[in-house]
Structures are given as structure tokens and as C-alpha cells.
Amino acid sequence: LRKLLDNYLWRSYRQISAISFWLRRRFTPAGKLVLIVLFTSALIGIDIREAQSYQLFTITLIFSVIAIISSIKKQGNFLVTRRLPKYGCVGEAVSYQLTIRNNSTKKIGRLAVFDILADPRPSREIFFVAQEPKSVSSNLFDRFFRFPRWKWLTETNTIANTSITDIPELLPNEQLNISLTLFPVRRGIVQFKTLEILQHDKIGLYRATKKIPCYDSLVILPKRYQLPLLQLPGKRQHNPGGVSNASLVGDAQEFVSLREYRPGDNIRRIHWNSWAKTNTPVVKQYQEEYFSRYGLILDTFCGNEKTEEFEEAVSLAASFVYSLYSLESFIDLMFVTNKAYQLSTGRGVTQREHLLEVLASVTKSDNKNFIKLSAKITENLTTLSGAIFIFIKWDEKRQQLLQLLRCNNIPFQGFLIQSDDPLTNNIQDLDNNIAILQVGKIESGLAEL
């Protein structure tokens, strides 16, 4: 029964969203006002003896009908090109260019453009299984009708908003460059699907539309915080194999000599010619490569929960990637989605923008994948100079991970992101090197460090 009801609710919310989206585009603000007056006067004007609302109803109805009828005509022929910047950032309006050309032989006025982005409405399956934060559905009514869930999912899927922009009159074969604005609200990739050219009627109430497919995408980077001056602990480490990197960020690589093979040597270093000559395994020996390598470990293990904390963790990771970028060290971003990733940035390797781009698309992972992160860190224990952990939970597994680093004498600094007041959270055995940051107050929390 619950499933049937959910199905019905999902359909209804979907339809209501579609109608509201239609109304938003099709009616000008004046048209919307006329519609409001129309419906209200219809409600209060049933009794024609007691009130004159029926007159208001008739006038607004005729205005709306005439406006709709007068806008039914064939639209002009347009050619549009969109030029997007490389990246956008959450919370900062992105300005982009649109070239529009009137290919028809008539002058066309009263125009506006609107960029339609990917549909943010959740799919049926997601609507059924998603778990909204408790603060969103706080009462029984909300939990029964699940509207807050719908709203929350729609908001989560909305990466950016666009607005309707008026454009000047277009003469035949005239080309015009206009600047449009995108308002990113979330990290991710904005998918541009269709460009809608709107033309309002002569009174200025209703808009006719013409859709032009125009696909594009834009990466919205996570929000970044200003970090305090952090003195990262740690020292330069031996990084065998990082020859090419060392030439750029550490000591220059030099071939020193050949020596006999010792168990444990990398077989890639075997000097085959010498082995052939001497009949014993010989390896190439280099001058040791030293440079600093910092691990930035992002906790993604929260399943369907802790969305806010996760978003803040990604933002914090992005802030570190952006701020710690230097010519003297590498940053290894490690996280797990469906598999473990390790991405490095520093001089000579990936630019920090690429890492930010990765962070723009990072998703949550299941708790059971934690072992993959542990394995990835263990793999890199010998090369890491230090580590920065960004946790969204605190438990025994995470404690063990820190213990591992401590045993290997790798200094670390950790951050635990919490949604509630830290004082009310019962956090036991919190490591001294872990700082608690509160959702929504990250910057102030960082400033206090």
C-alpha cells in the first residue's frame, strides 16, 4: 500500500513540478499576477450578487485568453551558439556568452532566452529509497506525504539555476552577442540541454516558445574555504621510481652505478645486459630520490546519510588541494567511490584544477568499501611525508587507520565534520590531532585553529 501511495505521490509531484515549470516560463511576471487575480477572483466571486469579483474574473480571463491566442504563430528561424567558461564555482555567478542569429527575413522583437538544464526531478526508484536528513522531514505529516523528500531530492539534483533574459529586437540576418548568467548552487556537471527562445505577446502576459537543442556541459567546482596557515608536519621521503617527478620537485635523478641484485629489488631495475654478461642478476642504482608527498584522504563512507557533512568534506578537500599546491611537494588525493583512487597534483604532474574537477564529481561510497581505503593508504605508507584526513564519521575503523600511520611515524592532521553541535555528540577517544568542524561553520572553525 505504501508503495502504491509513493507511486501516486511521485507522479503527482512530478506533474505539479512540470506545471509550475511551464507556468514559470510561459507567463511573464505580469501574466502570473493576472493568473493569481483570475484564480482568486474565481474563488471569491462565485456569488455574483454579493461581489463584483466576477467582473475581475472575466477581465483577467479574457486578458489571459487573448494573450495566449495572440502568441500562437510561427516563430522565426534562429541559429545559436553558446560559449562557456572552463569552470564555475559554487556560489559564484558564472557569466557566459550566447550568440544568436536571426535567419528569417522578418524583424523579431519581444524576445527572451532561457537555458533549460537537465531535469532535476528524481527518478521513481530514487524517490522510493532515498533517505532525506531528519531535519528535512521533521514531523509525521512530512514523512507521510514525502514532499520534503521530493523537494530535497530536487534541490540536490539542481546544480545550477538559470533565468529568463530579455534580448533586444533582432533585424533580419542580424547576429547578436548576449551575456547570460548561471547561478551554481552545487558542485557537479551542469548539463545544458535546450535553449528556449521566448517571445511574449503584445500585451506582455504570455510567452510563446521555440526550443533549439544546444548541448553543452560545464564543471562546477566545489566551494572552497580560506584555510589558515597550516604548518604541515613531516619530512622528505625516499620516493623510488619517482625519477621524473624528482627532477622537478626534489633532487635531480642521477644514475650512479650497477650492483648485484638483492631480494626485494624491483625487477624493472634489472640491467639485462649486465646479467647476460656476468650471468648474475645486476640492478641499476640511482642517486636516491627525495621529495615531500602529502596524502589528502577524503572519507566518503556514509551510504545514504550525512549528505551535508559529505559536501562540506569535499569542499574542505578542495580547499586543501587549492591552497597546498606548491612547487615543493605533491598532494595525493585518496578516496573511494566504487574503487579506490589516488590522484596526485604538483609541479609536473596533474594541475590542481584537474583534481578539483575530480572533486566536483566525487560521490559517496558504501561503508563496506572502507577496507579499500585502508589498503590504498598501506600501499603508500613508505612514500608519504604526512597526511591530512577529512572524516565525516568517527569510529573504530578510522581510529585503527590513524594508529597505522602513527606506528609508521607518519605525522597527520585530521578534521572531523559534524552536523550538530560537537558538544552534544558523544565522541569517544577522539585523537588529539583531529579537529572538529561544524557543518555551515567550517570557515569560522578553521579560523579558530
Partner: protein, 671 residues
């Protein structure tokens, strides 16, 4: 790029014109002029209020209060059926303070939280402009007043013209725009007239076919008698009417007339009610009878003397009458007045032609009725009425009590054959049947008997228990009342009077007097309500609660609002002055606070620079206290500020010698 269709600010004078129109329609013109004037002088006034979100929330709270008061006004108003209309009509007053705060604040927009409480929790940044919203509200408020249709139409068209002209696209030629506008006006004009005609036809049809669903008042088509009901009949003592008439002679006021009798129920075969032209109420003309009627619903059958016509009611009441003379009023108040100017028994209204159904005797009663008829030797002449009256007077008595009857026996037959006693319905029904047996057309009438005369007010008081039934006979080409119920019926009914009757009568009289006063003094309801509203609001405003964080007035720390502004600003300035002294000292140590640098960060740098020479923990405490005073809404008390001042001066006194020492050392170090 400019968005020409954005409704940022309504065109000049649009709101004021709409407000004046609203005031004119609602008879609140003086208030409307005042409201419009305050809005328009904005152009000449240069000062603006510094209202932050909390300030707007308080204005929003005030509007909520106004809304609650308007609901109370409407609920206790005299026309419950028009509650929504009255509420909509008062809405410009409700939203006006918010509009005013938008007009005279330097932000020029209102946070959505001022309207919707949920947004206050989320600290939403969404802000709106109220202008066009207020315009729509005022227009709707104007439309709920009943006024001359053409005048309203012209005014609305003018307002629409003004509003739409302002947003006209420059690429549309004026001629085309005017052409479309004229087309819309023409269609709207004929459209609204058609709508009225359709609505009236529908109303007529609905009245005809759904009248059975009307509840509460007497059914004009069907009257179920209490004949055969067991036990004593009891009726309420509630006063339902007051009848003002020149003489003190009791009179019968008929409400409904029926002609078919079946199974203890009287039916009316005349179902068609025609809308009646009536005179509008005129207090200069003296009527023959004035009746003040109380009703639970907004419709009622009018109790009228036989042969009444030339009626006058308030203009919003609709009267309709059927062929039998049953008159119905729709859209009445809970207490309404109607006047009868002419009562003529041989008027054309009283010349409803008898039909064959006025002579039908139901089959079960034919035998007994014909027996009595032949016993009395009844014939179709004037004497028959007298004979029937005499027959009842001699042989029958009045009783409100009925004992249990054999199921097969008909109550009226038992009344004829054996019991010879009963209440008015028995007498009326029996009279009708006997007259019909003699060939005289007769009908059954229900209504009230006005008998209780109030000497103080010089009028008849009619209670629910005065409800009565009698017969009407068609003699000499006119209908006459034939009431054969023994006259002791009135004393029998009065014996049921309640112990609390004098008290309920007193309240009823008070209400009646208030209604009269309100009508005669020409004060409209709204003027009275607005006076009450202002008094209530002033009382509430003078009552501060929740300490400094009042709902409507009062200040909160760092929140500047209308009333608390000056005091609060002084406090925060004082705290900042003290802080500046600390920062200046830091600067002398060579540690300047950067813009946007947190104070605690600056304190750490100072600590490092001075190598713990200064009292760092004390400075940290001072800064924490500063944060409290600055950001905690209720921390800025006199005591806390005093404590802050003391701590700052102690710390400064402690630090100045160290600063001097530090400077000296630096001079020495300098080569």
C-alpha cells in the same frame, strides 16, 4: 541585460489609485486617502529607516496580529455568510504596514520570512518586493464589495490600463496595443454580462430543484405534522420575531401554504418561486408592519399577514414568492428587518386561483369526513365556515399531549371519531378537510401567532413556541383565514416557558437594540471595527513581553529596529570603542589586525610577537566576552557591559608598561 517584464516597482500612483478605489467602494475613503498619502509622500521625504530582517519580521508579526483581529471582526460581524468577502476586503489594511516598511526602509525589499515563518528558521536570503502583490490584494479587496457593476468595470479597466501600459514592450506599436486592449475590454464587457445572466439562470434552476436541501427553516414544499407523535409537544421559548404594528390586536403571520395531504404530511404542489421586485429600505417612509426576524441561516421564509404586498428589505436580500403567497428571502443576515407597506385582503397577490387539488380529500379520510359533513349539513356557502367553527368549539378541546395509538388507526380519524382533542395541526387539517367536503377550496397554513405584546417597546414578541397552523378558505373570490384551534392553546404553550426565559429575553433585546442603533446612527460596521482594532492594537503594543526581544517592539542586541535603534546602536558603539583601544595597543606592538582576520587569530599573533609578555589568557577572555556582547542576542546587559569595560581597562593598564619596555628594547636592538 534589462528585463523589461520584471515587476520590480509598480508604476507611479498605481497603488494609491487602487487604494482610493478600494476606500471608495468600502466606504473607507478617509482611511484610504490617508494610506495613499503616506505612500506618496515618500517622494518628498529623504529619510529612510534602517530595518534589518528582524525588523521586518516584527512588522510581519504585527500584520499577523492585524490578520487575527480582522478574523475576529469578521467572525463576530453580522453577516457570517460573507466572512471570506469581509476578510478579503480588510486585507489591504492587514498588509499595509509591510508595504510601508518596504517603502520607507533603505533596503527596499522584504525578506520572505516576514510572511512565512518557516523561512525565518532557515535564515533564507529570498527577498521580495511587495508593490504588485499589494496592488493585486487591493484590487481583489475592492471587488468583494457589492456596488454598481458599470462603475466598477470602468475603474478596473482604467487600473489595468495604467498597470499594463507601464510594462508595454517598446517594439509593440501603440495602435496595435490599444487595439488589443480595446478588444479585451469589449469582450470582457459582454462576457461579464453573459456571466451574470448564466449565473442568474443557474441560481433560479438550482433554487427550484435543490430547495429540498435547504435546512433549518420551514420547508415551503412540505410540512410534516406532529400528528400521531407520542408524548407532549415542546417548543423553544426563543424569540424569533419582533413585530411592530400600530394596533395591539393579535394577528396571524403565515409562512407557508400547502394544499395536498398524505400520510400526516402536507405538501405544496406549487413549486415555482419567482424573484420578487421589492422596494429598497427607506427609513423615511412609515410601514404598516415592521418585522425583525432572527434566523440561523442566510435564508428564511417570511412570516407575513394575509394579503401582504409592497415589501421592503435591505437591497442585498433577494425575495421570491410562489403562487400561494409563500415568500422566501435569501442572503439575509442573522437578524434582518422587513417592512410591509400594504395589507389588503382582496389584493391581486391574494387572488391565487383555487385548483382542483384544493378540494381533494385523501381516501382514508373520505368516509369520516363525509359522515361529519352530512351530520352538519355542510354546503358551499359562507355559513359553512361558521358551522365548522361552532362544531369544533363545542365538541373539541385543546391538548399538547398525545397517547400511544393503534398502528392501524389514523391520528386524524381518531381525532374525529373518539378523542376530540389535539393541537393546532389537528384542528387546521380537520378544518381543511371539512371545508373541502362542503365544496369550499381550502389550504393548510403554517406560521406564527403574534399574541405576546411588549408594552415597553410597543411591539409583539413572537417565540418559536408561537408557531401555529390554521386553514385558509376561498370564499367570495378571496382567501380568508379560518383558525378553529381553541383559544386556550396560547395559555397551554406559555405554561412551558423556561425558568431562564427573562434572562434570554434580555440578551435578545440587547442584540435587537444594538442592531437598531447601528442602522439608525448610520455608522457602518467597519468604522466601529476599526476603532476597536486601533484600541486593541494600542493595548497590545503597550504591553512588552519576552524581555528585550519583544514581538513587536523592543530591541535585540545588534538588531536595529524601529524603536530600539538609538539605544542599541549606542551600546554596540561603546563596546566597539573599547575593542579599538585593545587593537590600537596591538598595533603599537607591531601586530595590526588585518581586515577580515578573526580576533582570536590576531590574538595568537600578538601572543607570539610579544613572547607571552602580555596577559594572553586575560585577552582571550576579553575577546570571548566581546563576541558574546556582539553576537549573543540577550547578552548585552548593563552588567556584562560594565564587566567588559573593567576587564579592558585592567588589561590595558597591565599592558602599557610592557609596551613601553618593549619599545625601549627595540630601540636598543636597532643599530
Amino acid at each position: 541585460m534589462k528585463n523589461s517584464l520584471q515587476l520590480a516597482e509598480p508604476p507611479k500612483f498605481l497603488i494609491s489609485i487602487t487604494l482610493l478605489f478600494w476606500g471608495y467602494q468600502s466606504e473607507l475613503l478617509i482611511w484610504a486617502i490617508l494610506m495613499a498619502f503616506i505612500l506618496e509622500i515618500k517622494l518628498w521625504i529623504t529619510w529612510r529607516l534602517h530595518l534589518d530582517d528582524y525588523g521586518f519580521y516584527k512588522v510581519g508579526n504585527f500584520c499577523t496580529l492585524l490578520f487575527i483581529v480582522s478574523i475576529l471582526i469578521v467572525v463576530f460581524g453580522s453577516k457570517p455568510q460573507l466572512m471570506i468577502h469581509q476578510l478579503v476586503n480588510l486585507s489591504p489594511i492587514v498588509f499595509y504596514p509591510l508595504l510601508l516598511s518596504e517603502y520607507y526602509s533603505n533596503s527596499g525589499t522584504i525578506p520572505l520570512g516576514a510572511f512565512i515563518y518557516r523561512y525565518r528558521k532557515n535564515d533564507s536570503q529570498t527577498r521580495i518586493k511587495l508593490g504588485y502583490f499589494f496592488f493585486a490584494i487591493s484590487l481583489l479587496a475592492t471587488s468583494v464589495i457589492n456596488s454598481h457593476p458599470d462603475r466598477f468595470f470602468v475603474m478596473v479597466i482604467f487600473i489595468f490600463f495604467w498597470a499594463l501600459w507601464h510594462i508595454k514592450s517598446s517594439s509593440v506599436s501603440i495602435v496595435k496595443w490599444l487595439g488589443i486592449f480595446t478588444l479585451v475590454i469589449s469582450i470582457s464587457y459582454f462576457g461579464q454580462q453573459s456571466l451574470v445572466r448564466t449565473a442568474l439562470s443557474f441560481e433560479h434552476w438550482a433554487t427550484e430543484y435543490f430547495s429540498d436541501f435547504f435546512s433549518g427553516e420551514r420547508d415551503p414544499f412540505r410540512s410534516k405534522t406532529a400528528m400521531g407523535r407520542i408524548g407532549e409537544l415542546k417548543l423553544s421559548n426563543k424569540i424569533v420575531m419582533r413585530v411592530k404594528i400600530k394596533n395591539t390586536k393579535p394577528l396571524l403571520l403565515q409562512e407557508a401554504i400547502y394544499n395536498s395531504f398524505y400520510n400526516n404530511v402536507w405538501f405544496s404542489s406549487e413549486r415555482k418561486f419567482d424573484i420578487m421586485q421589492h422596494k429598497f429600505y427607506d427609513k423615511n417612509k412609515i410601514p404598516q408592519i415592521t418585522i425583525y426576524r432572527t434566523t440561523r441561516n442566510n435564508h428564511s421564509l417570511l412570516a407575513l399577514p394575509l394579503g401582504s404586498f409592497d415589501l421592503s428589505v435591505e437591497d442585498y436580500i433577494t425575495l421570491s414568492r410562489n403562487e400561494f403567497g409563500t415568500t422566501r428571502a435569501i442572503d439575509t443576515n442573522s437578524i434582518f428587518e422587513y417592512d410591509v407597506y400594504t395589507i389588503m385582503s382582496d389584493s391581486k397577490e391574494n387572488k391565487s386561483v383555487p385548483t382542483p387539488s384544493d378540494l381533494i380529500i385523501p381516501k382514508p379520510y373520505r368516509k369520516i369526513v363525509s359522515e361529519i359533513s352530512s351530520e352538519l349539513n355542510l354546503k358551499a356557502n359562507v355559513n359553512t365556515v361558521q358551522k365548522v367553527s361552532n362544531y369544533f368549539r363545542k365538541k373539541y378541546t385543546y391538548s399538547l399531549y398525545q397517547e400511544k395509538l393503534n398502528y392501524n388507526n389514523l391520528p386524524l380519524e381518531i381525532f374525529f371519531r373518539s378523542k376530540h382533542r389535539g393541537h393546532c395541526e389537528f384542528f387546521a387539517s380537520a378544518t381543511v378537510l371539512l371545508l373541502r367536503s362542503a365544496g369550499i377550496p381550502a389550504r393548510y397554513v403554517v406560521g406564527y401567532s403574534a399574541t405576546e405584546y411588549d408594552v415597553d417597546d410597543e411591539l409583539f414578541i413572537v417565540r418559536a413556541r408561537d408557531s401555529h397552523a390554521w386553514a385558509q378558505a376561498y370564499i367570495n373570490k378571496k382567501w380568508i383565514n379560518v383558525d378553529n384551534t381553541p383559544s386556550i392553546w396560547y395559555q397551554a404553550e406559555t405554561a412551558n416557558a423556561s425558568f431562564f426565559e427573562p434572562l434570554t429575553d434580555w440578551f435578545s433585546k440587547l442584540n435587537y437594540k444594538y442592531n437598531l442603533w447601528q442602522r439608525d446612527n448610520g455608522l457602518n460596521n467597519y468604522t466601529v471595527y476599526i476603532i476597536i482594532l486601533v484600541v486593541v492594537l494600542l493595548l497590545i503594543l503597550s504591553f512588552k513581553y519576552k524581555g528585550n526581544r519583544g514581538w513587536f517592539i523592543g530591541y535585540s542586541s545588534n538588531k536595529i529596529n524601529i524603536n530600539g535603534r538609538k539605544k542599541n546602536t549606542l551600546k554596540s558603539t561603546y563596546i566597539n570603542v573599547l575593542l579599538q583601544q585593545i587593537l590600537q595597543l596591538g598595533q603599537q606592538f607591531g601586530v595590526s589586525k588585518q581586515d577580515h582576520e578573526p580576533l582570536l587569530h590576531w590574538q595568537k599573533r600578538l601572543e607570539q610577537r610579544t613572547k607571552n609578555n602580555i596577559n594572553s589568557s586575560e585577552l582571550r577572555d576579553i575577546l570571548f566576552l566581546y563576541y558574546q556582547l556582539r553576537f549573543a542576542t540577550d547578552a548585552a546587559t548593563e552588567n556584562n557591559i560594565r564587566e567588559f569595560k573593567q576587564k579592558v581597562s585592567l588589561w590595558l593598564n597591565d599592558c602599557y608598561p610592557k609596551l613601553q619596555k618593549d619599545l625601549d628594547e627595540n630601540v636598543e636592538d636597532d643599530p
